[in-house]
Assembly symmetry: C2
């Protein structure tokens, strides 16, 4: 996308909608918490290559955080105050999905990032152009996920038991993500209003969660988890 | 510095000196191990600001790692093989200097990075221009250390006991760094030859370690630890 091309020209949502700051803030805390989850999970890596791959993914999250910090500051927000209401839900998500094996950590890195990206892309195309652009940049691929795909595919070829476990694990990741997303939406009126406007109406929100489930299934299939 | 200006035009060391790959490799593993040290230490942060500051410093280390990976790959090295001989010394350094408080973690982040930077800058100006440029880029400031300086200065204003402890801690960091640097030099002939050539002779190496001690003292003074 050209930097000056509007991502969407027909958005009826104003660029200063109060939900925009909340959207950036939840994304920002998502990056911080993913950073710490990835760097902690890397302790389970069996090779230095694995450690480096997770460290690079974690570092990319911080790059995204810095973009969001700029966007929030430009809108007059203090990023730490803005992130505060989202700390609990995201910490809960990570606490309830702490990987206990290296393979679980890899699947979570891949699938968890994907679930978040799907959500923001789904609403992104209905957002005002400048907001949508920031979201797109933040969600741009980090380019380290081939490592994850390869490692997981190799592991499940060797073990049906690993495969079964990881399929359940993937389902749990999606379930917990949706639970926490609903918790956030129930608490943040402006953000909810933004999501509903971007989806058209409440039926649109339901359809959005359905599509996220389909995209999750496709991502699991890429890993060989079908 | 302009990208095409040689950093040094009078180096007598050839750009393909076998110590260059070792220099890049020890720097590279240094970045990886600093990444994991910083992200783990961040768990002790008392505020989200502190956590974010350490995460940003850690992410910057990965940016440097990626530069070194490119430089090593361009020279025909496999980065993981090249780093392998340095894993033990750097892991030992971190194991023997694991911070037990948030303030120790901050002082280590600031002072430890500084010790490494001094060492490479000292020899950098005698290295062939293209090597010297890579080292300079990798050691460029990350811009997050003001946070550390401010936090430490505030803390020691409030407590003489903290100040005394952190002064001892700083001395220990330098001591352990020199111990491990000597261990590395004793084992890696090509790297040692490079350092001796860059310093002039063995007396030059001794003078180099003396200057590192002085620069360390200056850095401690910036933190208020005098």
């Amino acid at each position: 996308m050209e930097p000056n091309t509007p991502a969407s020209t027909d958005s009826t949502i104003p660029a200063d909608h109060p939900g925009v700051g909340e959207l950036f803030a939840v994304l920002a805390y998502g990056e911080i918490s993913a950073f710490y989850r990835l760097s902690e999970d890397a302790q389970m890596a069996r090779t230095l290559q694995g450690k480096v791959a997770l460290a690079s993914m974690a570092a990319a999250e911080m790059g995204h955080f810095e973009m969001l910090e700029k966007a929030l500051t430009a809108r007059g927000f203090d990023i730490f105050e803005a992130m505060d209401p989202f700390v609990r839900a995201l910490d809960n998500y990570h606490a309830s999905t702490t990987p206990s094996t290296w393979l679980e950590a890899l699947v979570k890195a891949y699938v968890g990032d994907g679930i978040a990206a799907d959500f923001y892309r789904e609403i992104g195309h209905s957002l005002p152009a400048e907001v949508s652009r920031t979201v797109e940049e933040v969600l741009s691929q980090t380019g380290h996920s081939e490592f994850v795909v390869h490692e997981v595919q190799q592991a499940i070829k060797a073990s049906n038991r690993d495969k079964d476990r990881l399929m359940l694990w993937g389902r749990r990741l999606l379930g917990e993500a949706i639970t926490q997303a609903q918790f956030v939406l129930a608490q943040r009126e402006a953000l909810t209003e933004l999501v509903i406007s971007a989806s058209g109406d409440l039926n649109g929100v339901v359809a959005l969660f359905d599509r996220m489930q389909e995209m999750h299934a496709e991502r699991m299939a890429v890993l060989g988890l079908v």
